[in-house]
Symmetry: C2
Subunit: 293 residues, 2 copies
Amino acid sequence: MKIVTDIIEMQNESIDKKRSGKIIGFVPTMGALHEGHFSLIEYARKNCDCVVVSIYVNPTQFGPFEDYSKYPRPFNDDCKKAEKYGCDILFNPSSDSMYPKNYMTYVNTENITTKLEGAIRPDHFKGVTTIVTKLFNIVTPDFAIFGQKDAQQTVVIKRMVEDLNMNVSIIIRPTVREKNGLALSSRNVYLTDSEKTGAPNIYSCLHNVEEKYKNGEKSVAILKKNMLAELKKTDAFSTEYIEFVDMISLTPVQQIIDKTLIVLACRTKESNTRLLDNTILHTAAHITNEEMH
Amino acid sequence: MKIVTDIIEMQNESIDKKRSGKIIGFVPTMGALHEGHFSLIEYARKNCDCVVVSIYVNPTQFGPFEDYSKYPRPFNDDCKKAEKYGCDILFNPSSDSMYPKNYMTYVNTENITTKLEGAIRPDHFKGVTTIVTKLFNIVTPDFAIFGQKDAQQTVVIKRMVEDLNMNVSIIIRPTVREKNGLALSSRNVYLTDSEKTGAPNIYSCLHNVEEKYKNGEKSVAILKKNMLAELKKTDAFSTEYIEFVDMISLTPVQQIIDKTLIVLACRTKESNTRLLDNTILHTAAHITNEEMH
């Protein structure tokens, strides 16, 4: 595995690969790699000739009072893991090179970025779309692979790619979970022991809503009420939002339609960690979340 | 010359060219082609293997009370001219395909786009950077060629390309002028006869300031005063602004520094047409505006 820190060097590596007809698969990350990331890297390894993983904690997607400085950065460990799962080139640029003095250009997908996470984290998605655009221009991937865990991010990135005519296929892979159902996240390291005990309730409330829907319940109001009751079984966290939305526009639905995205966000009380999770309800019973997009 | 209207077809044409090692030169235009455009196309023809010219009157760079609907669109004539000067592929997308329903992603270079033209035409440059990003993603040029006539646009596009790590070389070519000095512009067709008579004063005031500077005058205040006096010789138009600015930040300078950009905008009284022009003052005497960037 080659480690590249220089933007132009990365750009040239990609140009060389493409010239020789290689298909580039790209997994952009902020490091602190876990099984969720590994599944994305493995997908790229299986489906592409060249696997690029970026590790870059992007300052522009953090709010001023968020965890940018304390975000975990176990770089050497990450390198070993990325290599183990099949990464060919690990791109690790410096912030000075990504956002030099007098940097002033941003990509913004309007409308859908002001809802849900965007309502709580203003400018978060502007930071995401900007860094993803920059990384796509540097890595020039054929495929870019993201996790379903950050559901709104997947919707925003797909919309940006379509709107700006970027020639990249966006692949969304299923959320990877702990055995107890907790969705993997680099931020799980912040959780206290009692939060870790309560956190699986988030998954069980999503699982229950899927079951109730399969059993015929189609009222969003009733399903949401059930979810809230399930989440209240623990006092480790409070619920920030639960929404049933259309997967393209992110507007709330009143009855379940095909591809209804259920997103929820909680905030733990001891470590003040935000936990996100989501599931997608399909009206066509044979479609599983593994093939969902 | 091939005429392409479909975005995916254009993208595939470019991919094919690049795979076979061809260098793509791109001239983005809004049509109504004139000698200024021809000089850009000729430059691309001389320096690249494949010349792509786009003709697209981009709605997002026009303000609500501007001339979007009346902007000249002599498409058949443009095709003949583009072909004559060496265009291989003319890209002419529809607005429905460029900005489909629910379009919501914009590229914005902040700060330098709120000054000068940006102060008079809010959101103009946001429209420019967005359409140029889209066109670059569709055409994937190695070189993109713009005219110096729209000086601020050249500064904004260069900044955007650098900030977003776009792998495109931006070439700026000198302004082409009528024999009487009037800078060529597709909007010159709006001018009345008496406006056409007065318009060359704009060039002569820029020419005079170059002469005065060469003869030792370095005070911006004095040079500007001279320009205003020159412009007042005609009552065909009023001056909107004259600014002496740094070519990177577009901030005003008090004394002439190397690469001082002098920009001016006038508005004609009869046809309400905006006329822009500019020149660059160099402290190193041997550099001409032909080699200026």
